[in-house]
Symmetry: C3
Subunit: 303 residues, 3 copies
């Protein structure tokens, strides 16, 4: 099948940002070693490590779903719960999101959740993707993405829901919504987030071409706000956070809501239709066949 | 009448991009010599020359309505038919649009179709303009504009409906929506296309001022995606086409439609009202008088 | 109260653009000396000086509400009346707006109108702010802002309703919507004006952070169209005006209306709700307390 073989071929390009990296693979998530870790100073769940700095009102939230932080149903759920906790804890005013896995911020949606499962599972999974987007995009907290690795597809969307983005200056750390390369289509709310960030024309081309931007180009097009040496990503995020926290919370939150509400409302008005749309698309034989061949290929490479 | 004389004066500036060029004139379209030409390797109509490369899945479509490819009713009709043919022929995935006339991509709408005719004729003409815009803006094909000449008004709109634009680096090849210089107003869907390409603020100023951008400025404002030496326009378009055709068609088409549907729907919802609006505007005595004096001037210069 | 003290602290930063300037203060408006001035060649009201050039069809309108042109109810009213007069006088096709007060274009809304008054007064004041914005944003005249001083908050909005903006190249002349620094929120139509000028992403960050842009950054982000030496602001505005007046009025006005109508309609559809919203926000104890402490501080500094 022509589409399938083209997808297989493109999948290699799609994966380049992280498959070229030593020892990394792509597939089902594995349980993280450790979990919460060193007692009082850290909390969080198995796949989300939270390092609070209560005095500063800031928490650093690290994704730990090796090897590539793919957004499994478990990771999505734990992210939502961790954010909810911080949102409800008056101690915290800002969160820095970063990766605990080397060289990858997040590889995006977990294809194993979208392949060979039941329609009910696809619906549950997509609802969780929506839930994370809604919670992050409308968060009252200041969210800053400290992007210390490759950041395609769903990883990019997580970064774009933040208020500010800092990308490590490593030519392998690409960022962008590259869904078309896999033969699939970003949902309209990914598209809306893209347009809100880089404008209509750049989105139209980048979404169609599935462009993955290296750091300098990402900065130029406006996908990220700063590019800094890799070892300064976190410290730069902390400096940026201080600037954001200098603003009275209430006025900032009302302003953020004013900017984002219309976009979020578009999804809220049609969540169920969007889920149905995703399920019927992903259930197509041609799409399932493509994804299966693609995953098979990855497993062989891994094995 | 003050407006009329101002329009006459400005008309010269409006025409500058191509009237300054040796031997060119502006007016009624003339039948192209030849028509289809060299048998099996080319097809098309009298005013639209199509050079197919079936192996690559790409066709080059050349406008041949000398002297300045003004968009007469005949040319509009033939363009729509040629595009429809290519769209329905599974052999083709992409089309490169360019001019067969020296130094002009297209001078835009044909003023002789908008002057001294019946309201019914104006309505028929405007419907054809809408039809071409809709067909191009929503085309499933990859459309790339190889802009090898001046590109004002309707010529600019044809370019803007494409997915990618390459402009020859010639200081005389200006591009832009310069309707106000003639005392007329771009329709809202021209405006929407402009805003989608260069944003609200740049559109607001450029549309009011009727700005015609030379190549470097066109690139900077985002009206075109590349500026290359004149003899490399077509080869650059072919290279760009290869990048676009590397993307699975189905995913790319769904993505393009997602980006453009809302804008196209705005026109589709009010096509008839838009036609009535055009007809009543163009039928005004003041507008007709201005256009007549303007055309008379052109005929004298020609004769 | 934490918010109040933070607001007090930030207020100093907010005021920096003009409090750092020699001898200037911020507070209640004082009646301008002179009023209309030198007879036949100037007209206007007490706080708005109009210098007409009937031959050119251009008037220069100077704000004269010392020390900082804060937008008191009187100034708002006089601005609306002056604009209405020029709009109805066929002699005039363009207006240049500038400041008669040294080093400040306008400090924005007058906080004394928003503090310690009755709900009815707040409603009347807010209606006047809406009225000025509507009249300027939809003006048929060409409006050019010759920004010869600091231009925060409401001052920035006046500039943004113009068709073209020239800012004096003085590092102390900042421009931007910095409402959040005071713990208050820009209304949605200020936000819409911002987004139309600098796009969604830049607006989202600048509005949340209350960013005041120095000239070079204001030019880069697109808040102003030109930055020129301070003594060339007015002459540059006159040159720009000549370019705008070269366009037939009728076509330019229809085009401007096409670009701006949707944004203006959003406010027109909900003027009363917007007033209620403002009144209930500004009447909150916490907001009143913050504003009172802030004004008290300013009076002490002044005294």
């Amino acid at each position: 099948m022509a589409l399938a073989s083209r997808v297989r071929f493109l999948a290699r390009a799609l994966l380049r940002p992280w498959t070229l990296l030593r020892g990394t693979t792509f597939g089902r998530t594995e349980p993280a070693a450790g979990g919460g870790g060193d007692g009082a100073r850290r909390f969080g769940s198995q796949r989300v490590l939270v390092e609070p700095d209560a005095a500063a009102g800031v928490a650093v939230m690290k994704f730990r779903n090796p090897p590539v932080n793919s957004l499994s149903l478990e990771l999505l759920t734990e992210l939502v719960i961790s954010l909810e906790k911080l949102e409800n804890d008056k101690t915290f005013r800002g969160v820095i999101l970063t990766s605990d896995c080397p060289r990858v911020f997040s590889a995006g949606l977990d294809l194993t959740e979208m392949c060979g499962r039941s329609p009910a599972h696809y619906a549950e999974y997509w609802k969780a993707v929506q839930e994370l987007w809604l919670r992050m995009y409308l968060s009252n907290l200041v969210l800053i993405a400290a992007i210390n690795g490759a950041c395609p597809a769903g990883g990019c969307i997580i970064a774009l829901t933040c208020d500010y983005r800092i990308l490590a200056d490593n030519p392998k750390y690409h960022i962008g919504l590259n869904e078309t390369l896999l033969g699939i289509v970003a949902p309209f709310w990914f598209k809306d987030t893209y347009v809100n960030t880089i404008g209509h024309h750049a989105s139209e081309q980048a979404l169609q071409l599935g462009t993955l931007f290296p750091p300098a180009e990402a900065l130029q097009v406006g996908l990220v706000d700063q590019v800094v040496p890799e070892d300064q990503v976190l410290s730069t995020a902390l400096s940026a956070m201080a600037r954001w926290l200098a603003i009275p919370d209430h006025a900032r939150q009302l302003t953020k809501n004013m900017m984002r509400k219309a976009t979020a409302d578009r999804l809220l008005r049609q969540r169920d239709a969007d889920i149905q749309n995703f399920v019927s698309f992903i259930c197509r034989d041609s799409i399932q066949k493509s994804l299966q061949m693609y995953l098979e290929k990855l497993r062989q490479r891994k094995g």
